[in-house]
């Protein structure tokens, strides 16, 4: 591969990392509290707000059930309003974030629901408020599960980010399609695939290790 192509590959990798980082960051910022709320606002639960819970649940499901490639196209006006354009790396971050939020929210909800109800009861018994229970009991206890969920979300976002390449977003997917496919450069396609595999491996290993270190339920701690 020529130095020019290597430069392109490095740039595309950085673009992908940037898109995924921003989407995962913003997605967590909104998805984490949303997930915690979904897990605790059902009827008779800690922050009981059954109607809001149901509405948010519907919105989350609607977003989750739309195929990502359709979502990208469907929200172009919204993307343009936010990013000022509908093509390029920055623009691609918008649909990625929109997809990341409900995905992360559901994963966080699952992790929080896995926390033993006895802990909530104990915390209520010593006088903790619902907010204190969320902050001091539910989130710390769910953290290993949340980290595993976020790892899964980042891995999925890496895949999604390659898809936005198809509609003019930057990054590795864009490179793979334009050079590897359209210009018929199999070595470029191979390079893109290898970089993606390495990225996913790194993220997964890191996430697993972090979750294991946080999980004090195992004796070796």
């Amino acid at each position: 591969m020529s130095p020019e192509l290597v430069r392109l590959l490095v740039q595309a990798t950085l673009d992908t990392l940037q898109m995924v980082a921003v989407a995962a960051g913003l997605g967590t910022l909104i998805g984490l509290p949303l997930g915690v709320f979904l897990a605790t606002s059902g009827r008779g639960e800690l922050l009981a707000a059954p109607w809001l819970n149901r509405v948010l649940g519907l919105v989350v499901n609607a977003t989750r059930s739309t195929p990502f490639i359709i979502l990208v196209v469907a929200i172009i006006p919204f993307t343009r309003a936010i990013a000022g354009t509908s093509i390029g790396t920055t623009a691609a971050t918008v649909p990625l974030t929109v997809a990341a939020i409900p995905f992360i929210a559901r994963l966080v909800e699952g992790a929080v629901r896995d926390v033993d109800g006895g802990l909530v009861e104990a915390a209520r018994a010593f006088g903790a408020s619902p907010l204190q229970i969320v902050v001091k009991v539910l989130i710390p206890e769910a953290l290993p599960g949340i980290v595993l969920g976020l790892t899964l979300a980042v891995v999925s976002l890496i895949g999604f980010s390659a898809m936005v390449g198809a509609v003019g977003g930057g990054g590795l997917g864009d490179l793979g399609i334009r050079y590897g496919y359209q210009r018929f450069m199999p070595e470029m396609m191979l390079a893109v695939v290898v970089v993606l595999i390495v990225l996913v491996q790194l993220v997964q290993t890191l996430g697993d290790r972090l979750a294991r270190r946080m999980n004090k339920r195992l004796r070796h701690g």
Partner: protein
């Protein structure tokens, strides 16, 4: 360590005006989500726990124990009636005021309910953090509490690194963190082996005596009640079948459910092989038969040599079928199940003789030993029976 002999209560639980915990005429019903009909968990509950006393509520699963104990710290609200703890009406307080009151009511659980992500010290610190105590005060109090429960050296261990008994000790330390007036114990020893149960009950008893902490506990185990409770309430089908001083209730049970709890204790009933040959009711005379008497020794009579007296002074031969000597609430208490000749005159004479010596006597029925290892059963049952007793023990 010798437990001081506790004075018997003069009134039944529920009668005290000055009690720290009062449950007055409480009922709790759950409305079924779909379909008709509400489920009644508790009905007509009147209970009181005086300051510094230990009240044990015993019942089978489904009797309503869990609901009852959760009424006291407002985790459950009664459908009817009042729950008052130290003057505060828990049953009608709004949630925010209730949270403050709960700091004065500690609770420990069957499955400990410790945070896995926090160390022993971190778990004990949690109620103090929630109450807004400052860092230095928390550190001091946590160290003090862990020492109290004998876990000073395990402060930095995570729950997964502790044994069941140690976890419950952390639970107790956590429950005591905010200096509560009452400790609620929800089957706190049910997940522990007998030896660990013993040590946890000893700890609770010590806390009760040394800190003057009032304890309300629920359990399905007789042994727990016997070891630490001053008073007992027997819960059956959501109602209190019987309540009062532990010694009185367990040595002179009135409700059938109380008897079934007592009968689970070895030595109170016949060993299974003999029980199968027992015909309840009045004594039936006949060859190879024995009338079975249950003698209950209370207090000072617990160690009287009554069998020897019965044989020597009344001339009635009695064989031991089963027996136990133990203590309830620090007072000696024994049960002896004996077989005597089954003719009506002898039974009457034996009953009168024993009753005159201050013992409670109960005729359980007639044991028919005809054909039961005939060769091994001599006219006097004692040798074979002592073998049975040693086998049972």
């Amino acid at each position: 360590m010798t437990a001081p002999v506790r004075a018997p209560a003069t009134t039944a639980p529920g009668d005290r005006r000055d009690a720290l915990v009062r449950i007055e005429n409480v009922a709790k019903t759950y409305t079924a989500r779909r379909g008709a009909g509400a489920v009644t968990a508790l009905e007509d509950i009147d209970l009181a726990v005086a300051r510094g006393r230990v009240l044990g509520v015993i019942g089978r699963s489904g009797a309503g124990k869990s609901t009852l104990i959760r009424l006291v710290n407002g985790l459950e609200r009664p459908s009817r009636g009042r729950v008052v703890v130290d003057g505060a009406e828990i049953s009608s307080l709004p949630e925010s005021a209730l949270r403050r009151e709960r700091r004065g009511i500690g609770m420990i659980f069957q499955h400990f309910n410790l945070l896995s992500a926090r160390t022993a010290a971190g778990n004990v610190a949690l109620p103090l953090e929630v109450a807004g105590a400052d860092r230095a005060a928390i550190a001091r109090r946590v160290a003090e509490l862990l020492d109290l429960v004998g876990l000073g050296a395990q402060a930095d261990r995570y729950p997964a690194e502790l044994s069941g008994g140690q976890k419950q000790r952390v639970g107790i330390a956590r429950a005591l963190a905010t200096n509560p007036k009452v400790l609620l114990s929800d089957e706190a020893t049910s997940a522990l082996d007998p030896e660990t149960t013993r040590s946890i009950l000893d700890l609770l008893g010590r806390i009760n005596r040394e800190l003057g902490l009032t304890i309300l506990l629920i359990t399905h185990e007789m042994a727990v009640i016997r070891a630490i409770a001053d008073e007992v309430a027997v819960l059956d089908g959501g109602r209190i079948a019987e309540s009062g001083d532990v010694f009185e209730v367990f040595t002179r049970p009135r409700a059938a459910i109380t008897r079934t709890f007592l009968d689970e204790e070895t030595g109170r009933t016949l060993p299974p092989a003999l029980a199968a040959r027992l015909t309840p009711g009045p004594a039936i005379p006949g060859e190879g038969r024995q009338a079975v008497l249950r003698i209950t020794f209370r207090g000072p009579h617990a160690t009287d040599p009554v069998l020897a007296q019965l044989t020597r002074e009344a001339g009635i031969p009695a064989g031991i079928l089963s027996g136990t000597v133990d203590e309830i609430a620090g007072r000696p208490f024994g049960t002896l199940v004996v077989g005597i000749p089954p003719d009506a005159g002898t039974v009457e004479r034996a009953t009168g003789f024993l009753a005159a010596r201050g013992l409670d006597v109960e005729l359980l029925g007639t044991l028919d030993l005809a054909g039961w290892q005939r060769s091994a059963v001599p006219a006097d049952l004692s040798p074979v029976v002592s073998r049975i007793v040693s086998h049972v023990a």
